[in-house]
Amino acid sequence: MSEGEGQATGTVASRLSGYLRGGGIITPLLTALIAFIIGGLVVALTGHNPFTTYKAIFDGSGLNWIFPWITKDDRTTAALNLQQTLIGMTPLILTGMAVAYAFRAGLFNIGGQGQYFAGLYIGVWVGSSFHGLPGVLHILLAVVLGTLAGALWGGIAGLLKATTGANEVITTIMLNYVALWVGVWAFGLGGPLHNAHEKSSPISNSVVKSAQLPVFWGDPELQGLHIGIFVALAALLVFWVLLNRSVAGYEARAVGFNPDAAEYGGIHAGRTYTKVMLTCGAFAGLAGVLDMLGWQHAVATNDIQNAGAVGAGFIGIAVALLGRNTAGGVLVSSLLFGALINGTSVRNLDPAVFPPELAGNLTLIIQGLIVLLVSAPVIVTALYRLRPRRARGEEDAPA
């Protein structure tokens, strides 16, 4: 939050550089493991069995589907659960990238949730209007406009940073809440996008059948897995290419590493900030559209208010940090968080083993611990030193 962000120690990205540079997957694995162990202690201290609890969460996530010995009814249940996990993972891939790309440019995008909202709102508006448009066109229109809306919402923070130096942490937090209240206003009673047939409940119109994303695994009536996950995976590929094989990504990384040196090398830091935030917003906006067209189909204002603290945009921060802001890392950690959230949901966790309401909060604790552990380079470096000797490199230099 300092004005002196010019020096290399100033940006979030450079302060976390020890963590970012460290190769391998040992550090994130250990980080997650420690968080799960502490979470298990909380479970044990409050009089429950952590082992059966984690087993039930694992089964609830449907990840047991991969085991060939799960058969018959168990397999059907596992398939249903896994579909939900992958539905939950889809927006996390995208919001994870929305945070990760900003991090690589030295920006901390806390605004993934607001950008997600922008995509969600435009998605439901387009999806529930323009009746009679052919399905494919309708979906394309919603996806393109929703992505643009997210990009615009993120771009505001980038533009403010570029033109006035306004700290992106503060602007993105504020933009989250502006987006939240605009949604509560627009879809609430008396709002311009409120569903006129619902006199007493504050909810939007529903996305028309033809504009809903097709389901390719499971029953469409039982919220099967929609094709949005392929879009998210394709976006992940775009992210990798953008970051590692494009001029824009090179400039973003250069500015993230040292904005002054990048300027000296002919890169316009301000313009890069704006472009990066537009891109991040586009990822998060896309997440919102896919959720809307894929499974939500309508949004109630209390859903918006609940997401104000624990929505996909916020979990994206944990996803990006644990995934060390790389494409592969985001993929793995979005699966982890998708599974964790789904495995602890009221719908999927066996209440005989552990109360699901408690488990949902356990998930938040584990997320918080992971982010907390990642925040401290000293811990990360210490964990990193546990790696086999031959694999160690320059990371031993003082942070």
Partner: protein, 391 residues
């Protein structure tokens, strides 16, 4: 200040007063039912503001012009709406009392933010610290059977959570924004977990001890009587703390040390100040203060606890710190402004539910404008957010 700059400044502020007067005329108790006087006044205000802008006071002048336009629209709307509705919504004393009530949690948490950031540690975790204060406040009141016990346990919980943030941010030199963000997640999960574990689906029981209201023998004074007569004790504590924190930060040697650590820790260390100690104390104090704001919510205002009951108030407090430019008294002014907008939002549904909702976004928009430097740039302490490494 020379006379050349003095007159446009006077004109600018005069324009602000005229604009507000234009709106005030159309509201109770004056309630002029014709829009003409208000519009004439607003026009005069706009002209005066434009003149001030032309004479060099650009920010103030244009702000006055914008305000004049808004007040003209407001006055026009007021003259066109029903007299009964207006008298229902615009009860100045009730609005003032509600403003103070809504501002109080913001004031506590924002004072915490001021203390912490003055020492150079950004505290995004204010929201989480408020939340633990709210939960342990009510849990403590339940446990000890007294609101004092509740308040103390809440403050202790806020201090302990702040200690976690301090340990990561100061000793481990963690990124302060990331660790503060983690604190929010942790607090949300922890309070939700403990709340459901202890109280289940029924919620907190009725009839728990409450922080008492302070009854003053002033109810015969117009406006001030009904506005200030029955406020919660913690509202007064918050107002006193604003003065106390100002006194501490700007008028005591310890406050000077605090500010020096936040502006230039290296220089502070060379004159023998322990940077770590000052920062630890400041962060813990910020957690205790934020938790008092949370405890006010649960055992002073709403009389119950719910999951995520702070609902973003910690972030509004962060906004208050920034709009208040890291100063306690200016922060109070910002908190009162945001409190007033919430008080108004509570009463506006008489006219329209949706416009009341939109008003909730006001604090965030104001903060965006403030950090962008459109109206008086907010500049944080120089070393705010930068971890300090001992030599």
């Amino acid at each position: 200040v020379s006379r050349d700059t003095e007159r446009p400044v006077l004109a600018g502020w005069g324009a602000v007063v005229l604009a507000l007067l234009a709106f005030w005329l159309a509201l109770p108790p004056v309630l002029v039912r014709s829009p003409v006087p208000s519009l004439v006044l607003a026009l005069a205000a706009a002209g005066l503001g434009a003149w001030a802008a032309r004479e060099g006071q650009r920010r103030l002048g244009w702000a006055a012009v914008v305000l004049a336009i808004l007040c003209a629209i407001g006055a026009l709307a007021a003259t066109r709406s029903g007299q009964g509705n207006l008298e229902n919504v615009v009860v100045w004393s009730a609005l003032a009392a509600a403003m103070l009530r809504f501002a109080t949690p913001l004031v506590f948490a924002a004072l915490g933010g001021v203390v912490s950031e003055r020492s150079g540690v950004v505290n995004i975790g204010l929201e989480g610290m408020m939340l633990v204060g709210a939960f342990f406040g009510i849990y403590g009141a339940d446990l000890t059977g007294s609101w004092v016990g509740g308040l103390l346990l809440g403050m202790l919980a806020g201090g302990v959570l702040a200690l976690v943030h301090a340990f990561f941010a100061i000793s481990l030199r963690a990124d302060q924004i990331v660790s503060g963000f983690a604190i929010n997640f942790l607090a949300l999960g922890l309070t939700g977990y403990l709340f459901l574990q202890h109280y289940g689906d029924n919620g907190t029981p009725e009839g728990l001890p409450q922080v008492p209201d302070v009854s003053l023998p002033i109810d015969w004074i117009p406006f001030f009587g009904p506005a200030l007569d029955k406020l919660n004790l913690l509202v007064w504590v918050a107002l006193l703390l604003v003065f106390g924190v100002w006194l501490f930060v700007f008028r005591t040697p310890a406050g000077l040390r605090l500010r020096s650590v936040g502006e230039n820790p290296r220089a502070a260390a060379t004159v023998g100040i322990s940077v770590y100690k000052v920062r630890y104390l400041a962060v813990i104090a910020s957690g205790v203060l934020a938790a008092m704001g949370g405890a006010f919510l649960s055992i002073g205002f709403v009389h119950s606890f719910n999951q995520n009951m702070t609902a973003g108030r910690g972030f509004i407090a962060l906004a208050v710190v920034i709009v208040g430019k890291w100063r306690p008294v200016a922060a109070l002014a910002a908190a009162l402004l945001f409190g007033f907008s919430q008080a108004l939002a509570q009463r506006l549904p008489v006219f329209s539910e949706s416009s009341a909702t939109l008003l909730q976004a006001l604090p965030y928009v104001v903060t965006l404008i403030a950090v962008a430097g459109l109206v008086g740039r907010s500049v944080p302490p120089a070393a705010d957010g930068v971890p300090y490494a001992k030599e």
